[in-house]
Symmetry: C2
Subunit: 340 residues, 2 copies
């Protein structure tokens, strides 16, 4: 298994990406191709004593697309950007999967341009696993397609089902439509039109509408939503979790000597909790619906986040997620009597 890793463009620089990739090779025994500025990468490999590891290759890319760049313009003009070089390698089967810290827009544009969509998928979706009280809930779409049509929402439900089955190992995963009430009659136009389509689809285990509070409760395994709503909710989640941990630290520091001692005693427990809530533990989001495994890692990724992203990429390949998405989408189309 060979994973290309775009090491450029994160907040903490290539060293975190390279370190994570080196550790992944040592932990999982996979091969990696590090894509980016070859001089910087080679220097970092020497630093981490990995410059002679035959499982670690370097592929030079002279440009970088930053998180804040206008994605579709940058993807077309910067032909030698690390994420583009990675996507081309993936298309040419020089690697099995790509892990890249790309902006949503750049990832989608690069994937559409160089990898193409799975037959029957109109729009790719980003699937983000988030921690719940009972395990993991996958939310999609978390930003690839705003103003999604009801058909796109159904495709999201199918792709999320495959993800939950193959990666999270959940049998017959429960799918919920994110809405403002449980009743079928609730919601905006998009939700009202999507509901009956999900209900009549034989490829998914649709249990009805779910509300915001159900995401963390673990009421369902797959939460289907529009890319706008999903993106707002997930960015809000990041902010809220950080805010709560910050307020907790403040509350303990304000609580006098007794609370401070207490704070020291619970430190290991809080560390575990922070780990559980930390998005980097979840190894990035998956760009589903395109023809090859593309894993998007967070712009603020640290080494451990890259290790888990590489693990997710390996699971993605090992479990033939793309083949299964194709099959389930085809079965759904057949069901509806649409033969392309």
């Amino acid at each position: 298994m060979k994973i290309a890793v775009d090491v450029m463009g994160t907040d903490y620089g290539p060293q975190e990406m390279v370190l994570g990739a080196v550790q992944a090779v040592r932990t999982f025994g996979c091969e990696v191709i590090l894509v980016g500025d070859a001089d910087i990468i080679r220097e970092l490999l020497r630093k981490y004593k990995a410059d002679n590891d035959p499982k670690i290759m370097v592929h030079h890319a002279s440009e970088v697309i930053s998180m804040s760049e206008h994605a579709s313009i940058a993807v077309k003009s910067k032909k030698d950007a690390s994420v583009i070089v990675g996507a081309k390698m993936l298309r040419n089967k020089e690697c099995d999967a790509l892990v890249a810290p790309a902006s949503t827009g750049a990832a989608v544009a690069a994937a559409l341009l160089y990898l193409g969509r799975i037959r029957g998928v109109d729009r790719p979706a980003i699937a983000t696993p988030i921690p719940s009280l009972t395990g993991t809930t996958v939310v999609l779409d978390s930003g690839a397609k705003v103003d999604a049509k009801p058909d796109h929402m159904v495709q999201n439900a199918i792709m999320g089902t495959v993800y939950a089955e193959r990666i999270l190992r959940i049998k017959n995963p429960k799918v919920g439509l994110l809405n403002i009430g449980e009743e079928e009659t609730k919601g905006n136009e998009q939700a009202l039109e999507t509901y009956p389509l999900l209900q009549s689809n034989g490829q998914i285990n649709f249990i009805g509408n779910v509300e915001g509070r159900d995401i963390n409760k673990g009421t369902v395994d797959v939460v289907v939503c529009d890319g706008f709503v999903g993106n707002v909710v997930l960015k809000f989640a990041e902010g809220l979790a950080l805010a709560i941990l910050k307020l907790m630290r403040e509350a303990i520091l304000d609580g006098g000597i007794i609370a401070k001692v207490g704070g020291m005693l619970i430190k290991p427990s809080l560390k575990k909790l922070r780990k559980r809530l930390d998005p980097s533990e979840y190894g990035g989001a998956l760009l589903l619906g395109v023809r090859a495994p593309f894993i998007i890692c967070h712009g603020s990724s640290r080494a451990k986040s890259i290790i888990s992203a590489i693990k997710v990429a390996m699971d993605f390949v090992d479990n033939d997620v793309i083949k299964h998405i194709g099959a389930k989408i085809a079965a759904s189309k057949k069901e509806r009597g649409i033969n392309e």
Copy 2:
């Protein structure tokens, strides 16, 4: 000042509502009219030794609209439901404000039917104050109008500005449009069309797009969004805060004897934190855009939540929020050359 309080229909029953109202009278010196089943209310007043308080009145209502009922049907058919009776009293100026634990749908339908809209407001919006790292951020709309038109979003921005100025006492409050990126070119159709309208409006201090993570950061004072998105986000916030506190308790209990002792020592600090995160401390949401002060309290309201809701109602009346909304909306229309 006379506040009508609908005491029926919450998860914890009339006793919490009545107790909260009694405590509010004792704390703030206001008058309250308790609306609902008179026998139950009188018995509770005896229990709380408040049956002879001249500042506490009882108004019988024979019906209740439950949280799960189909709002617009129930509002039309249950003429003697507590929330309807309260809305009629408000219309007839028998009270200065109404505090009711109504579902969003029932509150909006009752208010539109019996109170009417402020001139120039097309749709009411629900404004929910939420805690941020720097103070309080008001999010609106949190559920009154899904599929909001850009004009509705502008009205939300104006109403939120008045709320922040008058209730939160923020001078020239900063307004942000909830979106998936900071750039003007980001977003769904609704956001793209709303942005220039907010930017050119002289009645608000629009600082641009904000993302989900900005809500808790306190980047802006007023976050403008569609009722669908706002509702999903706020319900998610409730769930996430509870989930984090639960996971924290579990992490401490799993951490052995040392963590348990530490947990005991930080208990007072955690209690303060829970208070800070508890929606009931914020006294409910405001239904803005209708002609009289209507405060919606949470279905899971406890007594203390009612106390703060009554305080918010008093602030709402004292600060002439409705008059100021009317004036700012009129100024905005004038600016755009629309004279009704």
